[in-house]
Symmetry: C2
Subunit: 218 residues, 2 copies
């Protein structure tokens, strides 16, 4: 298994961006107790070509065998290692409004090793309230909590102006991964990873594609 | 303005995917009462090259002038037309848990013309409750509500097995845009647009990049 780690750097960004989707389909196959699958069967399920699948999965060494196909469990485990979901990642959520609470309640994350350890907010009306067994804490506790609970990832579900300020603090407190739902870019140093979920932009893409669809019909 | 419509098809997918980010930055410039901006200034703000900006924005005709730069309001309006946010889009949300309620409460969508007209759920404990002036409705009302309220976009914040079934119904009821938060692909006909927000996959990308970061440090 440890080999995959050293191989990481040789895998292209495009392949990496497709890995979570493979991981999802392989997880569903395991749930359905499927032990092996050919690239052709997988291609029909995933709606991509079999040759794309073979090319992508060849990056991880000899898991496909002619006449046998892929060993679902092994491939799932191997992709899990590459994605880093074979380990636990402690998270905290800053912003305990509806979105923050929705994310805290989402059991799928925990299943994949992303464990929400703490919830924070600056709103005194929310502080002290319980969400899934976690008590919403004031922002003053942040620095110490990160240190004591080995927090790796901070989730930002706060307005954009606050997010920019808090993100800088989080960097100073040692956080190196931010999952950012605030509608802004955070502009942080290079040794911190930011993954943005810009919901408004996703909705605009939908609206663009909807207009294109209508035009093609006209 | 109507020209941009007929030009849509000539704009590459890559450019389109960058448009919402331009739109966001231009909106912030308008808020800051900036009337014009050079590609160089915009490039510093957005952290992309000035030549990329010029190439991208040249797709929309002569909005940049040497020695003047871009007229912020005109460019913002033009990109808005391309993205289809110059018109109102009626939406409904299916699944009134934390995530559905978070989306219903998000005032940014309404500001951009995406108006949540209805909230639905199958849970009798939620039906009848009020969210931002909207009463959560039972699923039986769905078909009629779509027809009577000219609904264009359905937002799915329900578990994956239900999402697959409901999406097919929505297609039959005339919906042609789905914003899908369920962790599954919907496999619908080609004349319906699906924009997926797969949160688990976004989190896995973060964890992959986090592992890569650590390796580079070692």
């Amino acid at each position: 298994m440890s080999d995959s780690k050293t191989n990481n750097k040789n895998i292209s960004k495009a392949v990496i961006s497709r890995l979570p989707r493979y991981y999802r389909y392989l997880g569903e196959l395991i749930e359905a107790e499927t032990e092996r699958i050919s690239s052709k069967e997988l291609s029909e399920k995933m709606n991509i070509t079999a040759s794309q699948i073979r090319q992508d999965l060849n990056n991880f060494g000899g898991f496909g065998q002619t006449g046998y196909g892929y060993n679902v469990k092994r491939l799932y485990a191997e992709i899990g290692v590459i994605l880093g979901v074979d380990k636990e990642h402690n998270m905290l959520i800053i912003g305990s409004g509806n979105l923050g609470r929705a994310l805290a309640n989402y059991s799928n994350f925990q299943k994949r090793g992303f464990v929400v350890k703490g919830l924070f907010d600056k709103n005194p009306e929310l502080i002290g309230k319980d969400v899934k067994g976690l008590v919403i804490q004031p922002m003053d506790n942040l620095k110490e909590f990160i240190k004591e609970n080995d927090i790796e990832i901070a989730v930002l579900t706060i307005p954009k102006t606050e997010a920019v300020i808090i993100a800088k603090k989080l960097y100073d407190y040692g956080i190196r991964g931010i999952w950012n739902f605030a509608h802004t870019d955070l502009n942080l140093p290079k040794d911190i990873v930011v993954e943005n979920v810009h919901l408004s932009e996703s909705l605009m893409k939908l609206s663009y594609n909807l207009s294109s669809l209508k035009e093609n019909e006209d």
